[in-house]
């Protein structure tokens, strides 16, 4: 077969420090038009030792070459499970750069920031409608930051009831951020076994008066809907607990079902997943949090409100958990997400979820005869295989690296932890039938290679600029900066 992956002329590039040439400049500043001032000598440093000296051309070539060593959603298919690597619309980049939005200072008086505040208010309202919650805060900078905000609100609510409680229940399929966030709220984490989906019975067995909350992900990280969610929420509520939902997988549910209607009390959104804002090579994202009415008084300050004199930032909220960060949130990310929602509309968002689920099920149908599928329940937006049936002593990592040679970003691997050698595929709705077919052909071809010529997998990737890297050496003798 003809693969996407091929070799071309890829340029080598040194570290910027290795290009530095004394006397070169890459900046321009106007001449100083006031008298130059000198600070007392004991306050002043020498020039920053080691800083580079480069021309503008040096810098542009440097980063352009580096960019060619990356693989983005615009390069090709990026089926990372639980990451929702959908296409990032270009108009969203354009509107985020409008000078009136990109140039707005966060300390500008509210009456001179009405456009920004209106956008935030409208986004809060839209996210509340999509999720079924009463109120939404846009302040958290990322999903994990939203989890922390949500769990702090849960703890603050319990404190207000007179007993903070001590434990949080977390199923074994959860993202690592869930237990880490619960710990930051002073809670002990109790992991619970789920066997694919969580049963109401299991939750009931663990639920007692010391459990502050259950943290679930729905659909969960196996791509399965937690079908007993309503009973589970009732059980937790009956014992005085609250239910947190990790909203990483909301892309399966838009217009179909709303976490707020299921009995869930708090959920964070990942705008960089469900709402098409770019991942930026690791960030920035945004992690707004939706809450039910009882938790709204605990939201971080400030809260954007709409009043008689326009949109306002509301600070006087005595029960608030406080601030999660400076200013109001990752506004530039919020702008992109709002543009996405306004472009899609209600029917468009529902269609996105439907096609995301269709794509995942299509990939599953094409691959399940060849790859081991540990859970047979109906998949939603993602599907998790294992490497059990991969021949030739090949493992998930080998498959992942071989996929790179074929021109694909690998799926999420070795997660969730409940599946040994997990291969977690989330195609998203923005991929066409042709792309999915080509990817499935590649997966099937690699399974064949594992059987007939496993060395191809063990050696992979071979078409990349560099080969597999020695991660053990990196950790044993950490070199975390140039010259150091």
């Amino acid at each position: 077969m003809t693969t996407l992956g091929t070799s071309g002329l890829i340029l080598n590039e040194k570290l910027m420090f290795e290009h530095s040439d004394p006397g070169r400049k890459g900046y321009s500043l106007p001449a100083l038009d006031v008298p130059e001032v000198a600070l007392p000598a004991h306050l002043v440093r020498d020039q920053v030792a080691g800083f580079p000296e480069l021309s503008e051309v040096d810098v542009v070539r440097h980063f352009t070459r580096l960019s060619t060593w990356n693989y983005g959603v615009d390069s090709g298919f990026y089926p990372l499970g639980s990451c929702t690597m959908k296409y990032n619309p270009k108009i969203n980049e354009t509107v985020a750069r409008l000078p009136g939005l990109a140039g707005s200072h966060p300390m500008t008086p509210e009456h001179l920031s009405q456009g920004a505040l209106k956008l935030m208010y409208e986004l809060q309202t839209a996210l509340a409608e999509i999720s079924g919650f009463s109120a939404v805060t846009l302040q958290p900078a990322a999903g994990a930051h939203g989890e922390l905000a949500g769990m702090l609100m849960i703890r603050a609510w319990h404190e207000a009831q007179g007993n903070p409680r001590t434990k949080v229940l977390i199923p074994d399929t959860a993202h690592g951020t869930n237990p880490a966030s619960a710990t930051l709220c002073g809670y002990a984490v109790v992991p619970i076994a789920s066997d694919g989906v969580l049963s109401a019975q299991t939750v009931a067995a663990h639920m007692d008066d010391e459990v502050a909350a259950l943290m679930v992900t729905n659909p969960n990280t196996l791509g399965l809907f937690e079908a007993e969610i309503r009973e589970i929420c009732d059980i937790v509520h009956a014992k005085g607990g609250l239910v947190y939902c990790d909203g990483a997988n909301l892309n399966a549910l838009m217009g179909i079902a709303r976490p707020g209607d299921m009995g869930i009390d708090v959920m964070h959104f990942n705008l960089h997943k469900t709402f098409a804002t770019p991942h930026g090579g690791g960030g920035p994202g945004a992690g707004p949090v939706g809450v039910t009415e009882i938790l709204a008084p605990f939201m971080p300050v400030p809260v954007v409100t709409s009043g008689a004199s326009g949109y306002e930032l509301h600070f006087e909220r005595p029960q608030s958990i406080g601030r999660m960060r400076s200013f109001f949130g990752n506004f530039g990310v919020l702008v992109r997400a709002y543009a996405y929602i306004r472009t899609m509309g209600a029917a468009g968002l529902r269609h996105a979820s439907e096609m995301a689920v269709l794509n995942a099920n299509y990939v599953r149908a094409r691959l399940e005869g060849t790859f081991h599928l540990p859970y047979l329940n109906r998949s939603l937006h993602e599907v998790v295989f294992s490497d059990r049936d991969l021949a030739g002593g090949c493992h998930t990592l080998d498959l992942a690296k071989r996929l790179i040679d074929y021109g694909y970003h690998p799926p999420t691997i070795y997660f969730p932890l409940v599946v040994k050698g997990a291969i977690m595929i989330e195609p998203t709705e923005t991929e066409s039938l042709e792309t999915l077919d080509e990817f499935c052909e590649a997966m099937l071809a690699i399974a064949g290679e594992a059987r007939d010529n496993p060395e191809l997998l063990h050696a992979a990737p071979v078409r990349t600029r560099i080969r597999r890297l020695d991660e053990t050496a990196a950790a044993r003798n950490p070199r975390l900066k140039w010259g150091g």
Partner: protein, 449 residues
């Protein structure tokens, strides 16, 4: 829908392969009683041209440095952003990539982060820097948690002159972790009160947190704080909200600081109404394994070629779960790239020159305002590019008058500090020409008439 490629025929074909009749059959795992039985109530979808028009309309309702003369700082700064930065970060190999978990196809991001970590270490005088945090305030909160972990102590001292939103964020993060926060007052210079600090320091203290420069723009005497703090076995944390200052001021490392947490927005990142910004975080070697966040390290491939990987990840939540050093996952990678490009353009000479311009222009404005009737400077300490002004009338009236002349004159301090109803914080950067500063001064002077 232009982002979704499926034709009716594609859908039919896919359903056949799956073996179901309709798309709705794929959702049978969701019980009917939790299904939404109506369309979501959202505004109608917009065509691209209409969307752009609507967003331009929103953008017009915000004041910016294009519409007004701006002297706003307070943790977000109006610095010049070279055109190169947006051109380069708009390469979608950078901005549409995920976290570099597959290093063979992520070397661009990884090498850039390695360079970023190096630049932050050089600038701060620290040994190690991570790949970024959310912003200055949350980086500062993470620093507080790290010192408590590293020292196994539960009391943290915070300067009252630290940015109030940083202090509030620290308080939120510590809310339920049994960490006692003690505020150290500032003195007549607007500096952390050293004798008050000395009085409170004891063997239970994990760390002292100071702004550098602090919220009032004043350059704290970290060299004097460090020995006091270290004598008790505690860590000194410098929170840097305006890192352009580090082009000129002694590096925190030279002054004995142990951890630097700061805000990198000044390095080429748009103001964007408060975010996304860039938390930077750097420390001494001794705290490496307690650090939060991702780290990139150099290594080599099978054939001996240099390459970069995420490393020491056993500190992180995806491996260590509830025992992780932080819950952070997504960071501010693209903003770190912007800062890396900014610093590589400015280089050794440029970071110095822009710092000197900020210092000189702020001093010019400060002297001119101090000479006006009805205005005075309450703090005597040396400042970088911000300073506090006291008015003889209400600040609201002063700032409202400036607004009439399209001037954003500063940040009122009454909302943050008791007894400061008549004070405001003025910021001057390289973006403010002498002529602009003169307009501000004239407008302030005009008020008394």
């Amino acid at each position: 829908m232009r982002y979704i490629p499926h034709t009716e025929e594609d859908i039919r074909q896919m359903l056949d392969v799956i073996g179901v009749d309709a798309v709705d059959d794929l959702f049978t795992g969701i019980p009917a009683d939790v299904r939404l039985q109506r369309p979501m109530n959202l505004a109608p979808a917009l065509a691209e041209g209409d969307l752009l028009r609507e967003f331009k309309q929103l953008a017009r309702q915000n004041a910016t440095a294009d519409s007004h003369l701006s002297f706003l700082g307070g943790g977000a700064y109006n610095h010049f952003i070279p055109a190169v930065i947006d051109q380069l970060v708009s390469r979608s190999e950078f901005y549409t990539a995920y976290t570099p978990y597959q290093p063979e196809i992520s070397q661009g991001t990884l090498q850039a982060i390695f360079e970023y970590q190096t630049l932050i270490c050089q600038l701060t005088g620290m040994d190690v820097a991570n790949a970024s945090m959310y912003d200055g305030a949350s980086a500062c909160a993470e620093a507080v948690l790290m010192t408590a972990r590293a020292t196994r102590r539960k009391k943290v001292l915070i300067s009252a002159a630290l940015h109030p939103e940083y202090r509030e964020t620290v308080a939120t993060y510590c809310r339920y972790l049994d960490i006692e926060l003690v505020t150290i007052p500032f003195d007549a210079n607007g500096c952390t009160d050293l004798s008050a600090l000395e009085d409170v320091l004891d063997k239970d203290v994990a760390a002292m947190i100071s702004g550098y420069p602090n919220f009032f723009g004043v350059i704290e005497d970290l060299a004097a704080q460090a020995p006091l703090v270290h004598r008790c076995g505690a860590r000194l944390v410098a929170a840097v909200a305006e890192p352009i200052a580090l082009g000129l001021l002694k590096s925190p490392g030279e002054l004995g600081v142990d951890i630097v947490a700061g805000e990198g927005q000044s390095f080429g990142i748009p103001l964007a109404f408060g975010g996304p910004y860039l938390g930077f975080f750097a420390a001494r070697q001794q705290d490496l394994r307690s650090m939060p966040g991702r780290l990139v390290g150099a290594t080599h491939d099978k054939e001996g070629r240099r390459g970069f990987v995420l490393t020491l990840s056993t500190r992180e939540q995806h491996i260590r779960r509830e025992k992780a050093t932080s819950n952070i996952c997504s960071n501010e990678g693209l903003c770190a790239l912007m800062a890396t490009i900014y610093l590589s353009l400015m280089g050794k000479a440029g970071i110095r020159e822009v710092a000197v311009q900020n210092l000189s222009k702020a001093e010019y404005a400060r002297r001119a305002i101090a000479a006006l009737d009805g205005f005075s400077l309450p703090f005597a300490g040396p400042v970088f590019n911000e300073f506090v002004v006291e008015a003889s009338e209400s600040v609201e009236a002063v700032l409202a008058r400036l607004e009439q002349q399209d001037i954003l004159g500063g940040i009122p301090l009454g909302r943050y500090f008791e007894g400061m109803a008549n004070r405001f914080l003025v910021c001057v950067t390289e973006q403010n020409s002498k002529a602009e500063i003169d307009v501000l001064v004239a407008a302030l002077a005009g008020g008394g008439q």
